[in-house]
């Protein structure tokens, strides 16, 4: 064994970092509730919620239970694709995973008949003209694949 004195190591090229990358592909199961939710959007241009058996609240997205009551849900409910704007933000910052190039507007909308806000985007309106409380309606895509993007965006009514 040869003992190396301090500074005796080869100092030409420091070893600084290793590139890490994870290429793990996920297949997230939708389960029976998302399955029906997205099929209704794709096939019938319909947004469906589900009712809590205890509080009667109409929940979105549909799920087997109500988180507030911790009770099962049962009855499916067809909702309007119109509603009121609850809050919004205009996205100026670019980041990975954006649905479109900024600027664009994210919105939470209370659909008529629902008790839970629906997340989507606003279109056909300039950000400075948007007002909380305004009525908006879904604009459906013609080529629907069973995702949230089966709706292009919500436009002012």
């Amino acid at each position: 064994m040869v003992e190396l004195a301090r500074g005796q190591e080869d100092a030409r090229e420091p070893v600084t970092e290793v590139t890490g990358a994870m290429d793990v592909v996920f297949k997230h199961s939708y389960g029976e509730h998302y399955d029906r939710f997205y099929r209704e959007m794709r096939d019938n241009k319909r947004i469906v919620g589900i009712k809590c058996t205890r509080c009667g609240g109409v929940l979105l997205p549909p799920r087997p239970y109500c988180g507030k009551c911790y009770a099962p849900t049962r009855e499916w409910v067809a909702l309007s694709d119109e509603g009121s704007l609850l809050t919004y933000t205009c996205v100026h910052l670019p980041f990975i995973g954006q649905p479109t190039d900024p600027p664009y507007v994210y919105a939470f909308i209370m659909l008529d008949g629902a008790d839970v806000q629906f997340p989507h985007m606003l279109g056909e309106i300039e950000p400075e003209d948007i007002e909380v409380g305004m009525r908006v309606k879904a604009v459906w895509n013609t080529d629907r694949k069973g995702t949230l993007h089966d709706i292009k965006y919500f436009r002012p009514v």
Binding site: V24, F26, Y70
Partner: protein
């Protein structure tokens, strides 16, 4: 310190890929099942401790997403990034402290949604072991050979663990694999990483498990058949398999010693009526016989051969069929607690070990059994 009992438990169905279930639907089914079996309702519960893996879920801080499914809205929820048995130890401590009176413990995993082989590669840090691609199976295989060579244990002894556990699993309604295998089938199954053969490795499993724990007063008021937690222990060995004596499960030994000391167990072989252990590969069960105090050094194959740990033996190990019959990561160790609790409370159905009063549940984690957790439950 308050008495703490396990008063309810439930397991979901298990499968290689439950494509009609989400993590949330599995959690909801396990937790509501465990509450039903306890007689408590979610309103009686003041703490929720969960175990999940953000890596397996493919999302960060996943307990934020699963909080509704766990019944944890506005409860003091906290997450363990490790096996569900650690979550049970955490819940035990909360209740034992007197600050909480009852807890739901839930663990879940859908290993099918990504590649579990790629996932376990991330257990190796990026600077050294990961460059070799070392994963859970290859680290296990290195340990298996080290253990077998140290004590002259033949491949037939390891294969016999698979035969024993798969036979037990036939009677387990929760087991994913419910078909027995012969010694010849195990020994002729393909060598996936020597010396480990295909039938010596646990399956890939989707599923969830939940238990309900409560302080003594509540436990006594709702159930005549509580599994009392009388001992706990957990321990972590050095990270790198290279610095450990690989043929010894040192952390399991320490975790068990802590639990035994607390529970007043001096001779586990005669005082425990059964053990439920986390054997991801056959050789691990043999190593655990020694680490958990069922035999002396190098004697594990002998007690297996003598039937000590088999059905009707003095101290059955894994009467449920163990992890070789279902491995719902990261609920695997919590399942051991559910099974052990069912046994000591006389509610194990077809799996019941007659007269069982005291049992040990064990969980393992990390590369080559780096970490371990143990809980002693008794009637």
């Amino acid at each position: 310190m308050e008495d703490v009992g396990v008063v309810g438990w439930a397991q979901t169905r298990y499968g290689r890929a439950l494509v009609d279930e989400t993590p949330q639907s599995l959690i909801y089914s396990a937790v509501t099942g465990a509450l039903d079996s306890s007689g408590l309702s979610i309103g009686d519960i003041d703490a929720v401790i969960d175990a999940g893996s953000d890596f397996l879920d493919g999302r960060g801080i996943s307990s934020c997403v699963t909080v509704d499914a766990m019944g944890a809205q506005f409860k003091e929820e906290s997450k363990v990034a490790g096996d569900g048995l650690l979550a049970a130890i955490y819940a035990y401590m909360r209740i034992a402290s007197g600050l909480f009176s009852s807890a739901v413990v839930v663990a879940y995993g859908k290993s099918s949604e990504s590649s579990i082989r790629k996932q376990t590669r991330t257990m190796a840090e990026p600077f050294y072991l990961r460059s070799l691609g070392l994963d859970a199976l290859s680290a296990g295989a290195l340990q298996a050979r080290s253990f077998m060579r140290q004590y002259g244990i033949g491949p037939d002894a390891c294969a016999a663990v698979a035969v024993k556990n798969r036979l037990a699993g036939v009677k387990n309604p929760h087991a994913q694999l419910r078909k027995e295998v012969t010694l010849e089938q195990v020994e002729r199954s393909p060598e996936i990483m020597s010396p480990i053969r295909k039938l010596e490795a646990c399956p890939i499993t989707d599923g969830a498990c939940a238990v309900v724990m409560a302080e003594g007063g509540i436990a006594r008021s709702i159930s005549a058949r509580t599994a009392w937690v009388t001992g706990i222990g957990h321990s972590a060995d050095a990270y790198s398999p290279g610095v450990r004596d690989l043929h010894r499960a040192a952390s399991a030994k320490r975790a068990a010693l802590s639990a035994y000391k607390m529970a007043g167990v001096n001779d586990p072989l005669s005082e425990l009526d059964l053990l439920e252990v986390s054997e991801f590969y056959t050789y691990q069960e043999l190593m655990l016989y020694e680490a958990l105090g069922l035999c002396g050094e190098g004697e594990s194959a002998d007690i297996l051969k003598a039937g000590v740990t088999g059905p009707g033996g003095r101290t059955p190990v894994n009467p449920s069929g163990g992890v070789l019959c279902a491995n719902p990561l990261v609920a695997t160790g919590l399942v051991r607690l559910a099974e052990a609790s069912a046994q000591v409370s006389g509610r194990a159905g077809d799996l019941q070990v007659e007269g069982a009063r005291k049992a040990l549940a064990h969980a393992g984690g990390g590369l080559a059994m780096q970490t371990a957790a143990c809980i002693v439950v008794e009637r």
